[in-house]
């Protein structure tokens, strides 16, 4: 992660790398690098959104039927969980900036708890699908959806999209753990907090992707 290279020490500022002139220049570089990385993440998910729209265009009726098969309540709770975690991680970033170290740690803990809750709900949904047989490709054997052409394609897209997103949730959690360790050890203080911001940015992106995934998969 681009946040991992800001820790070289020099006399001018405790966290200024030797090839940068000023801390503002280093912060600007770190933020630009992070936003570029977020751009690549958006394009990574772009492929799956394209697959979704193409096959929805081909199998309109199937898409409508299969999306009814998903449980809307679980999806909605997941959305609320992620939005709230987005709030708490933003507050944690604010807390670090104003120096409230314990508040920041508490908020980060809550965010990680939300992430775990999200993954648990995902596990429940997945196990239900494995049980009922709404699976991608050759394992598809859900009776009531059998009469729709290419119903397995919906679940291929579903598992690919939510699987990749769940992986990003796990990565986001570990990033937040790393940031929490930094705060705990006192490395991130009101005058050096950019890595906290980068960790928060990554978590917000994970939430952003779910904001688009939720309506497309659950509500159409």
């Amino acid at each position: 992660m681009s946040s991992s290279d800001e820790h070289a020490h020099s006399a001018r500022h405790p966290h200024l790398a030797e090839h940068f002139e000023t801390i503002q220049q280093q912060d600007y570089a770190a933020r630009l690098g992070m936003w570029l990385f977020l751009g690549t993440e958006v394009l990574l998910f772009a492929g799956l959104f394209l697959g979704y729209t193409v096959y929805r265009h081909f199998y309109h009726a199937t898409w409508h039927a299969c999306s009814q098969a998903l449980s809307l309540s679980l999806g909605a709770t997941n959305t609320v969980i992620l939005i709230s975690s987005s709030l708490t991680v933003a507050l944690a970033y604010w807390a670090v900036k104003v120096g409230k170290r314990n508040l920041a740690l508490g908020l980060l803990a809550f965010t990680i708890l939300c992430a775990i809750a999200f993954l648990c709900i995902k596990y429940v949904e997945y196990s239900h699908k494995f049980h009922v047989g709404e699976l991608p490709g050759k394992w598809f054997r859900a009776e009531e959806l059998m009469q729709y052409p290419a119903a397995n394609m919906y679940f291929t897209i579903y598992f690919l999209a939510t699987g990749l997103h769940a992986f990003h949730v796990i990565v986001g959690m570990s990033v937040l753990l790393w940031v929490a360790k930094g705060i705990w050890k006192g490395r991130y203080t009101p005058d050096y907090f950019v890595p906290v911001e980068l960790g928060a940015l990554y978590w917000h992106l994970v939430d952003l992707v779910w904001i688009f995934l939720f309506p497309l998969l659950y509500l159409i």
Binding site: S2, A29, L32, G33, G39, T40, G47, I157
Partner: protein
Amino acid sequence: MTQQSQPSADSPAVYPAVNYLNADRGVKSWLLTLDHKRIGIMYFASVLVMFLVGGIFAMAVRLELLTPGPTIMGANTYNRMFTLHGIVMIFLFMIPAIPGVFGNFCMPLMLGAKDVAFPRLNLLSLYLYWTGAILAISAIIFGGIDTGWTFYPPYSTTTPMTAFPALVGIFILGFSSIVTGLNFIVTIHTLRAPGMTWMRMQLFVWAIYATSIIQVLATPVIGLTVMLAGIEKVAGFGLFDSAKGGDPVLFQHFFWFYSHPAVYIMVLPSMGVVSDAIAAVARKNVFGYQMIAYSSLGIAFVGFFAWGHHMFVSGQSPFDNGAFAVISMFVGVFTAIKVFNWVGTLYRGAIAINAMFVYICGFLFFVVFGGMTGIAVATISLDIHWHDTYFVVAHFHFIMVGAVIMGFLIAIHYWFPKMFGRMYHEGWAMVSASFIVLGFIATFIPQFLVGNAGMPRRYYMYPERFQAMNVASTAGSSLLAFGFIIIAIYLIYALVRGEIAGDNPWKSMGVEWQTTSPPDKHNFAKPVVITKDPHSYQKPGEEVEHVVI
């Protein structure tokens, strides 16, 4: 040297005792280095090894095509050979070569910076490259991969041969490319020397900037495509399998959305190298600096909209074919601008006679001929006859070997003194340059003709009527290989016992020539301040004639 001073021609060439090569010793100091120059040298070594491996596959393919029937290998082996030739050359040599080697080594020097923005990320990119390379090459051991470098399903997902290691290898190489691109963009934005505005950057830096934009924005899509192909092959999700409702043409959209911008990732850096080299060889200001700089960005952006011209006969609708064809025409215009401005730079210059200029002449001819055959292939009605024949093979080799490898050789000959502090033998360089140019023409002009005659690509056995041209092409390719061997010999000789090059053997005005060669570990003794436009060769205070064409 605070000011960007005129290089003193008469001071005796001196080889700095302490430089980045011997600053600290030991293998660990190399493997864990954060110095962009060392990472560039390690990229240089691994990229050359990959070029050798790819070249061996190329020679195997060419030898097989000597006779219409089976010559030296079976059908499956031949299919593996051309697939590995494609994968190794494109993913392991063309894409990482110039950005990885000269982008890492020269670009920070040209900016007057101490290092790239994220040195640790730079080292990560090198390790990702090595891992990806080992995985991709290991495909030979696991029974080889015979799907062609394009992995089109349903063949790639139903072939008994394991494509999985190569797919994972390319997935990892994608990340190496993203990380390099990201690193360079941030470096160019933040670490420019004081006084260096965007319009005072050298054209090589502009080309690397445009390439990095494509690397960052296009590579994630191939990462996803290769992951989907791997999942499809292993788990049978049926995303592109028509029996399960999928559409194989959709994979082609996924694949070419990345692969067309990827061809610009390959060609743009070599155009940047040539822009710099032409200015240095002709010792003249670049003719139309803004035009060349903006056309690099133009190619980067418009290149994203033109991927459909690879799928004219794949079942794409006529409307979309027309849309992609028009957009492809505009991308061609940017290359034409560059060529006119390069030739304009030579006008009324003081051209030094050296090997680089032989390459530059070859480069100009090949870029124009290769580029315009590209426009010809983008004309839909002609593509019906040419698609997937040797005409297309000849076109992209004209650009890949003619433009990119020629650009790579120009870069080697131009910056070799700066990287190693020694000079190569000019005479041998001229000899090998002519071998390379003639061998190249002898290899690929016959392929244009046999493509016109209708010989399809990736053919193990072909009708007898195509044999004459294939034999000529194989003869040409051995001449080309011979040329590369001579280059290797005199460069290695120069490494060990070449005469001392001195700080600025070409008397070039590039910022990277202001420091010693090989440069110090921290690049510049005193911080560099830029006051003049780049590539401007008039002596300070000397009044020079201004000509406007």
